[in-house]
Symmetry: C2
Subunit: 594 residues, 2 copies
């Protein structure tokens, strides 16, 4: 079977052939393959719209039916120039003159044309002739399943002083089921887009007057943010963490001590010069936590000390790279630093790993594995020079991973310079792979910050190991992930509105209001829709808002009988008493049920 890349490239030629037969005056730019498919930049006589894509696709399928071939021919550059001039293909002529003058047609990353001795190769696909390095399929019949997906504008050769062409995107797979799966995934990704759902559900927004990459969490998003934080605080308390609260900035002296300055300076917000020194926004919480550690004396009995803070950090990313919650400048990190003795590294790594796995379980995340990044004894210059600590800690971390019976891989020469680390890799519901949590051991901090403890003999020991960890990543990244994961259908414990009461008519409003208040006072996020609209409309609205429980309040409900409750995702309403309903809610929330 042909290489999938070749198939996609042939598909691009096929589409161009279809375009030429529909628009004989079209002029063609370049048509390379991309992930999952291809595109072709085309100068149409008149700009086309999305509707025309279907016509092009139909014409392409006719060409396949006709068994159109891909025929290669070689010729000299001058012959090719003559040919494409005759065809009126000015862009191809320009490419050829580049080959002649510069020896290359490199346009961005695309090297479109292969030199063949002194000459070039062309491909014929029916009446369409393209300048192309190939290779191609023999026949269009070999093309598997394809679909044109979208149109976009694209300047010729990426320069905005050049004419704007239209870029026709297509996807192409060997089998129809692969294409279907991919298209489903695309549709799903669009449906689950965290920016779209974030706006629909009024979770957050970004406003240019406040600034790029700075999240404005609206009331609904703040509820989710606070529930996630509450979970972290609760589980970290159980795991023996203490909490601190530190400022969002510090003097440059602190960041010079930590080494963030000057090396990390470009990623930090610019300095603020005050009457007593130069200040920077913090890009990480560790330096502040180290100062907290150092403020008191510690005996060997006090360790491990686990200092936690959902710390807000600020990083100076280029404004053009910022997008939604995934690329931000202000990030609230599920941060903590564990200060421990060497003999405690194993137990502490185990503790963090357990905590991490427990978090994933709570959110129903299953498709993940770990990656242990190690140093390389071959690149001593890249790493803190403590070979014994490297070998010892990598060994105990490996033991933890093995004993925890989790999937993991090892990556040599991928550690941070200050120590080995364990990252989590996720496959998201739409199949995208991404990293989420991190656990990093740090051999460097103890020297930079003179971290010490008093050992059993009363002597000062400076072998304090630091573990940086953020199982829940940052609020921004994690909530973006959750929005996509749940597609906005929040489990009850995270749902901004848990119960919607809807009064049947005006005479039920006061009663519905007092039920709503009763639930609210018990800690339920209950609201009331008594708007002047039909009952049907209000129910449909609540369903569209994905509210877990909808209670329509009429005479029966107010008389104290059983309620009929609309449960999200269930066809049939369920009958239960108010007390049963409250218990169910309470159980679901306290168990953080999925």
């Amino acid at each position: 079977m042909a290489n999938i890349g070749t198939m996609r490239h042939s598909c691009a030629h096929l589409i161009a052939a279809a375009v030429q037969s529909l628009y004989p005056e079209a002029k063609f730019g370049v048509g390379p393959t991309v992930e999952n498919g291809f595109y072709y930049d085309i100068d149409f006589p008149e700009p086309i719209g999305e509707a025309e894509l279907l016509n092009i696709e139909i014409r392409a399928r006719e060409l396949i039916k006709n068994g159109v071939k891909f025929e290669r021919e070689e010729m000299t550059i001058d012959e090719a120039v003559k040919l494409f001039k005759k065809l009126g293909q000015d862009y191809k002529v320009e490419l050829l003159s580049d080959i002649k003058n510069k020896g290359t047609t490199r346009v961005g990353d695309i090297e479109e044309v292969e030199l063949s001795g002194d000459g070039v190769s062309i491909y014929k696909t029916g009446d369409f002739i393209d300048l192309c390095r190939g290779p191609h399929l023999d026949s269009s019949k070999e093309i598997g399943a394809f679909k044109l997906t979208k149109l976009a504008g694209a300047y010729w050769r990426g320069k905005n002083e050049n004419p704007q062409l239209q870029r026709v995107y297509g996807v192409c797979f060997e089998k129809q089921n692969q294409l279907d799966e991919y298209l489903n995934m695309l549709a799903e990704a669009e449906k689950r887009d965290h920016r779209k759902i974030g706006a629909e559900q009024k979770l957050f927004f970004i406003d240019d007057i406040v600034g790029k990459g700075l999240i404005m969490w609206q009331p609904n998003g703040t509820i989710i943010r606070n529930e996630v934080e509450k979970l972290a605080v609760e589980k970290e308390r159980e795991a023996g963490y203490v909490r601190v609260s530190t400022p969002h900035m510090a003097k440059e002296e602190l960041f010079l001590t930590s080494g963030h300055l000057p090396y990390y300076k470009d990623s930090m917000y610019p300095p603020m010069v005050m009457d007593d020194g130069t200040y920077y926004m913090k890009a990480m919480n560790c330096p502040h936590h180290h100062i907290i550690y150092n403020h008191d004396m510690h005996s060997y009995r006090d360790l491990p000390l686990r200092i936690a803070e959902y710390g807000m950090c600020y990083r100076n990313e280029l404004s053009g790279t910022l997008a939604g919650l995934l690329r931000v400048r202000g990030l609230a990190m599920n941060d903590a630093h564990i200060y421990c003795r060497k003999d405690q590294i194993k137990q502490e790594f185990k503790g963090v790993l357990d905590l991490t796995i427990n978090f994933y379980k709570i959110f129903g995340l299953k498709d993940y594995w770990f990656r242990l990044s190690k140093w390389s004894p071959k690149h001593l210059d890249k790493y803190v020079n403590e070979p014994e600590n490297w070998e010892y800690s990598q060994q105990v971390i490996r033991e933890v991973l093995e004993e925890s019976d989790v999937k993991f891989i090892e990556a040599e020469d991928e550690a941070a310079f200050y120590g080995p680390k364990v990252d989590t890799q996720f496959r998201s519901v739409i199949g995208r792979e991404e990293s989420m949590s991190t656990i990093q051991l740090d051999f460097a901090a103890k020297k930079r910050f003179s971290l010490t403890y008093t050992d059993e003999t009363g002597k000062e020991n400076n072998e304090v190991f630091v573990i940086h960890r953020a199982p829940l990543s940052t609020h921004e990244r994690f909530i973006a992930f959750l929005i996509e994961h749940y597609a906005g259908i929040w489990p009850v414990w995270l749902s901004p509105v848990q119960v919607r009461f809807i009064s049947v008519s005006e005479k039920h409003t006061a009663g519905a209001e007092s039920l709503q208040k009763e639930f609210f006072d018990l800690g339920v996020r209950a609201d009331l829709d008594s708007a002047n609209e039909t009952l049907g409309n209000r129910v449909r609205k609540a369903v569209a808002e994905k509210i877990p429980y909808i209670v329509v309040v009429g005479d029966k409900e107010l008389e104290g009988g059983d309620w009929m409750i609309r449960i999200r995702g269930q066809e049939k309403q369920e009958k239960m008493s108010k007390q049963e309903f409250l218990e169910r809610l309470n159980n679901e929330v306290s168990a953080r049920q999925q």
Copy 2:
């Protein structure tokens, strides 16, 4: 009876006379009155220590016993110069030459010498002669109760190129009981100093490498901070607030819109220039909240909208003015903004007032009153030009205060430019008066931010009134106040450690540990002292740490019998079962009992 100021000034002369008789070579600077007493700057032949103050005081009392008089005499400047030269009083000669050359001896705020026609006046107190405007008592017998309190260094005339004198401080009252009361208050203030208790209890610290005015909340302080915040969140939820989370900075465009720039610029952190504009740390949360309000459309039915956030603000105070938690640069404000219609102003002010009073009750604060600051129709230029809104809102706010039956005063021409406000004034446990909470109505924001809602007829109404409020002030200020208020003896719900288990001996450690864990898992802040020290020492340590409950764990406790519990502030231990103890704890914490 003589004026108390005169008495204090005479007391200063008396002290100087006592010093002269003990240290004949002493040279005298100036000796003015200050609040509650006086000081005298003296150049002693050898610097004296605190111990010598008592000798001086004893000598002064002898002079009183001898009935030393204060005798006035007038003379020309030249005669006075001659006199003080003879006495070797160089500082007085310098003052006289200033009078002669400049017509004044103003040193800082002190005008020490009164011109008497062309001449000056002097006072004799026994052998001591002083250049002085007077008036004085006739006799030292009229001096009430006094005490020398402390010594400090002071440069002559406040300039550090001048010789350093020693400043002898004293306090003086008409009656002994007034003096005693004042000295008690001083001792109490020192005992309750929030910086002292903050360090002892490891609540917070300030570290120069992080920066001045930036609070590092340690685990114990963070517990208190979080409990206060939890209280606010809980009560604000009940009162119908929603919560948001906004970034700590914004582009200058936002602060130009709000008017903070350029008027408030000096109080803000310096700008940070990024690739997409100029950013400032926020000094207030309101502009961000207004943007949240404006992000959605609001109907008349949606109002009032109450947006709350414990927002962290940063203000650029001069580093020299910063002190403890009371003058800081980073402040976490118990902030919220209420957006309401004109007809809702009264109910919303009432709501905030009720919330405020409820908070005070929870903390056992009783000695407070309110102050309604109004505009003045005589100074129209100072205020937003909406006379009708001023008159209407002042009237309804007054009604709220009257109907709430609270103490309040009214202050004309003291409002903010944007609207009337109600501040709380407190008398603290040590008698200091300070302001704490504020409720401010804002007529200006609606125009600056184009705040609108859709009224009953579907029209856009731009009369959105904003209430700024911070009943619990900032974490920094409020916790400083609480530390002083409780003198570090925290009610159980705020106490960083609520229960201390102490194992009698090593064989009880494991059992005590499992009890501690049992309590901890039930949400109690319980810890364990199983250190290798005597039981007595460990109990004394726990008592000194002001821990509310101390449970000594021996055989009996582990066998499941009743416990003898040491309750803070009680002489006698109380006997109760584990279950009774847990219930008591639970009740105290959930009722936030004082």
